[in-house]
């Protein structure tokens, strides 16, 4: 009779002792674990519909994850190519070789600069004669029309904006006639990557919303089909929390399953792309290769899946469980 008369309905006397508290906590965790496993069991009894829902969630998660990976790789690639961007400083006519060499050395010592190379007017003329095939034309000229050239290699971690300001600074040097940097394409690539990333963010948000709705709708149907069970359980004295629990855990499993499917899909696509990408990169003399999803990515994807699954379940449960009352 004690259980019925105690207002709290707790058999352990509200855990007055530490042992009682620990036992209560253990019981609490045990119950949750039981419901968690029970929810998984229920899902496995309808393998086809569970698989389909999980696959849809997986595809919805795989799309933004895959796109993000590709763009991330392209950004890396842009970084690699930036090493070949150099600033060319065409020096003023008549600048002494000695002075030019000193300038090149001074610039090489700067923090933002990886290294410099000086090409004297004489060397430049020699190269031009060799490669252009206009040697006779040069002979017709009196004197060397070519300026001295310092090529400046910025350090690779320097962002485009900093390269730009470095360029401005070098251009202002009194020894420099023209400072040139062909970095337009780097900037374009970067803004393109930014744009695509923004686009992926939008797609990711839309697809996250879709996952939310898929889980929510699946659980709404689940709740509807278990209406009688919910009514009976409520009549027997179950709290809202007790009734909510199995549905929340079902959402959890959907989210986790979807995330695992997404990981599988993304990595499978990476494997399929690996060969062609490496061949393409090889043609450009690059050793670029696609890696698998990083551990951070795995954790992020799993967390996102679980969160979306739980959120979708909360959405459905919040909207529909309250409507089901005994009549």
């Amino acid at each position: 009779m004690s259980a019925a008369k105690a207002p709290s309905g707790r058999p352990q006397g509200a855990g007055a002792t530490r042992k009682g508290v620990r036992r209560g906590l253990k019981g609490y965790l045990e119950r949750h674990l039981q419901v968690l496993i029970h929810a998984l069991g229920r899902l496995s009894r309808n393998p086809l519909s569970t698989l389909m829902t999980t696959a849809v969630i997986g595809i919805a998660l795989a799309l933004p994850a895959g796109l993000y990976l590709v763009v991330d790789h392209v950004r890396d690639l842009g970084g690699q190519w930036r090493e070949t961007t150099r600033i060319s400083l065409f020096l003023k006519q008549g600048l002494a070789d000695e002075e030019a060499r000193r300038l090149a050395e001074r610039l090489a010592g700067e923090a933002e600069v990886e290294g410099t190379e000086y090409v004297s007017p004489a060397q430049a003329l020699e190269e031009f004669r060799e490669f252009s095939g206009f040697g006779e034309v040069l002979d017709a000229l009196d004197g060397n029309p070519l300026p001295g050239l310092i090529t400046v290699q910025p350090i690779s971690s320097l962002p485009p904006e900093a390269i730009q300001s470095l360029l401005e600074r070098l251009r202002a040097l009194p020894e420099v006639d023209i400072a040139q940097l062909d970095m337009e394409w780097v900037r374009r690539l970067h803004s393109l990557v930014d744009l695509v990333q923004r686009g992926i963010l939008v797609i990711a948000i839309l697809l996250a919303l879709a996952v939310l709705l898929i889980v929510g709708n699946t659980l709404r149907l689940d709740i509807e089909s278990r209406r009688e069970e919910i009514v009976i359980t409520k009549l027997i004295g179950a709290t809202d929390g007790f009734i909510r629990r199995p549905f929340l855990y079902t959402g959890f499993w959907y989210g986790l399953g979807g995330a695992l499917v997404a990981l599988l899909l993304v990595n499978l696509s990476l494997v399929l792309l690996q060969g062609p990408v490496q061949r393409l990169a090889g043609l450009y003399g690059s050793d670029f290769r696609l890696g698998f999803t990083s551990p951070e990515m795995v954790i992020l994807l799993l967390a996102a899946g679980v969160m979306l699954g739980l959120a979708g379940a909360l959405l459905a449960v919040g909207r529909h469980l309250r409507d089901i009352e005994p009549e």
């Binding site: 009779m1 019925a4 008369k5 019981g27 009688e228 069970e229 409520k234 009549l235 027997i236």
Partner: protein
């Protein structure tokens, strides 16, 4: 207007034609419906002041038995009877012990692994009764518990109710089976069009 008091440990019948308000009265006591006026006090708790969140606690103190049994058909007899204990969060081994005790009382101990659909109507109702008493509530409410059963089974069910009453459980049974009610020596409350027209040891004709 209905006004009556059921003492602790008392057993009584609630009768009247269909539509007289028997079911409504039971629904008011279990807060399936809310009273628009008046007061209902169960075990010292005034139901009119009970919030939504306190309803589960009230229902755990009441065992409810339905005409259509309302068992969960995808669960075994054992799991059906265990449900009221599970919702209170009782430890597993205690659950098994008390479920078996309840099934033993209704004589279905050997059918705990069966599913409700494989049982006869009388057996299903006994599962329903085991479920209603397994958590030892001080009050049992039954809404036409014998409505779907033949006279012999009905009498068996009534005997079960008397058994629970003898160990101190208050029992209120809604039924229009006047013959059965008349054969038993308990208080009878007769409703007509939502009003209590008779309260006593005899059935009003």
């Amino acid at each position: 207007m209905v006004s009556f008091r059921l003492e602790a440990g008392e057993m009584a019948f609630l009768t009247g034609h269909s539509g007289a308000g028997k079911s409504s009265l039971l629904k008011l006591i279990t807060l399936i419906e809310r009273a628009s006026a008046g007061q209902i006090v169960v075990n010292g708790h005034n139901l009119t002041r009970l919030g939504r969140r306190e309803i589960p606690r009230l229902r755990r103190n009441i065992g409810i038995i339905f005409q259509d049994y309302r068992l969960l058909h995808d669960r075994t007899v054992f799991d059906n009877v265990a449900l009221p204990l599970i919702v209170t969060g009782l430890q597993r081994r205690d659950v098994a012990r008390r479920v078996r005790a309840a099934l033993d009382m209704v004589g279905l101990l050997n059918k705990e692994k069966r599913y409700p659909v494989t049982l006869s109507g009388g057996e299903q109702q006994r599962v329903g009764i085991a479920r209603a008493v397994v958590h030892k509530p001080p009050l049992l409410l039954a809404d036409e518990p014998t409505g779907n059963l033949d006279p012999e089974l009905s009498r068996e069910i009534m005997t079960l109710f008397e058994l629970f009453n003898q160990v101190g459980v208050s029992v209120l049974i809604a039924s229009h089976d006047l013959e059965l009610i008349g054969s038993l020596p308990y208080r009878v409350l007769t409703l007509e069009q939502g009003r209590l027209i008779h309260d006593g040891g005899m059935v009003a004709r």
